[in-house]
Subunit: 66 residues, 12 copies
């Protein structure tokens, strides 16, 4: 049984949806950390372009096994 985890705070960005922004963030973390277990979303934000398009930005805390 794992008894020690670290929790990393990461940001994902997507033009499509918050779920896609989460997938982007999880893929970014998977390239760097060995094993990912669970996450909490701690912020939902966004940017707005001059033409009014929305960019979805999500901040996650993600638990990793080192």
């Amino acid at each position: 049984m794992t008894t020690y985890y670290e929790k990393i705070e990461i940001v994902g960005v997507s033009e499509k949806s918050y779920e896609d922004a989460i997938q982007t963030a999880v893929k970014g973390a998977k390239d760097k950390y060995k094993e990912l277990r669970w996450f909490e979303v701690i912020e939902f934000r966004g940017g707005i372009s001059d033409s009014g398009n929305v960019q979805f930005q999500v901040v996650l805390k993600i638990a990793v096994v080192n």
Copy 2:
């Protein structure tokens, strides 16, 4: 006019999206409580499989008429 509600805290899970997880939670509550009125999402979380797939988990407070 209804002047008394109870608020129940429930969790819904989906492989697809947070909206689908909310629908799952609302259907689960509707099987058990008579009338549902409104809800607030109080947590957005998720699990990550070994292959990196994301499971969306949502915690709601839902107002019911007993």
Copy 3:
């Protein structure tokens, strides 16, 4: 460089998704304020119809240049 913004709190509603509710809110604000820059979602809520259909409601703080 802009050194002064105002932040407006707005609500968007959609039958489809939270992303669509955000688009609705951003369009509503764009009709009234000159330039929109970024937003934070501060509440995810919803209504439930008698038949169990979910209406997604989102509360945003949105930064505008006056």
Copy 4:
């Protein structure tokens, strides 16, 4: 000595005052649960009619002995 309680979240509504809304909520809970002990108010909200009349809405957590 009681060593186990449950805490129920309830909503009370009144045209008069928050104290009256609390009494409404407590009476609603007393019809259903055996013994009520103490409560915390966690939200004070309200509705506004077209003519500007205010309806007071209060959300309580109430401790019950099952």
Copy 5:
């Protein structure tokens, strides 16, 4: 169906009660905004005169239809 609201933060003051301070705030907002729908109380404060009299101050977020 209305799908866009703005939420305005206002302060009401009364020598009598918080409910009266809310009525004061709602009347102040009604003079300026077209339609008011619902509100949340976000702060209950007060001032104390030299003789110990209490002035009730309430901060509301109020949803308006523009």
Copy 6:
């Protein structure tokens, strides 16, 4: 101009209303501290008797001039 205050946390209790509980708390503080200036309510709670009567309890932070 006063440039230094202390803030004291106090509890007031009343069978009548939260406003009366605040008055009770302010009177209790006035017996002990020289000058009271302003307060914030940080908790609204209550007790419920066996017969269902409500006792209103309020927690204040109150600014005093020493």
Copy 7:
């Protein structure tokens, strides 16, 4: 896979420790709900007797499978 949970808020009391108060709360919930899965502690409180003995009180949110 379970996709619907309810979260119940409960209070446990112990003269010994918070861990013992949690065990008391979990046992109380297990007598009433079918399957318990996980919990979060949301408040650590206590009572103090006239002789200065401490009673540990813990408030949990506990996830149950109905």
Copy 8:
């Protein structure tokens, strides 16, 4: 005595300090609103240039008399 205020959320930016960013925000608001009374800082943030210079950004709620 004023019994109705509005609270506006504004952002000020400065290369020098948070106090300067607050002054910038207050001046921006004074150009637009008649009377300003008090403010609360609700966020302290900043940007970092490629060379490591810090830009101070402050979010205020400011009370205005309309």
Copy 9:
């Protein structure tokens, strides 16, 4: 019936456990205040020595009868 309390914020430290740190804090307060009634834990912290030993630190709000 007591209708006025003060709440004092105190810190207790122990090498053994949080329960022991609470006892230390309660004893420290009992030497100074007449009657103690109840407490809430508002922070659990700790120090770590060079050799990795943990010191438990707890911050309480404690209600006293003056």
Copy 10:
């Protein structure tokens, strides 16, 4: 080793800066309490004069050894 502290909530005011308001608050507390150890800032606020000058107000929790 000190194992018991009290934490006092104080307010400092300055026309110059928040750091100066903190120094004012710390000096005010040092006149009254024996030993001060550490503090947390819990609120940054301010007043605005008719001419637009800003007064910086800071609320601290400060740990004292009695």
Copy 11:
């Protein structure tokens, strides 16, 4: 004097107590980071086995000197 720290978020798990879970987390961090200084507990959670046994889980922020 150290003027720069990093704060790492870690999770510790124990079948015995929260203090033991903290020791587990601190030992896990000590294997990886040079010097640990202090920590704050930010979450107390737990798992419940089918037979009702409780597993204590604790989330810490821990300050390290790099």
Copy 12:
């Protein structure tokens, strides 16, 4: 466009001001991480020497591009 960031929590210390403590923290992070983008201040704290001198301590979350 960058679509993945990590957010690191860091502490900076200064005898002069919070702005200087932020600069210290940002310089410490720049020695270790490639690109820094923005930060949020999440705590303002301080130490007090025996002679009453204040040491400013600031906790930041800082976004980095790995």
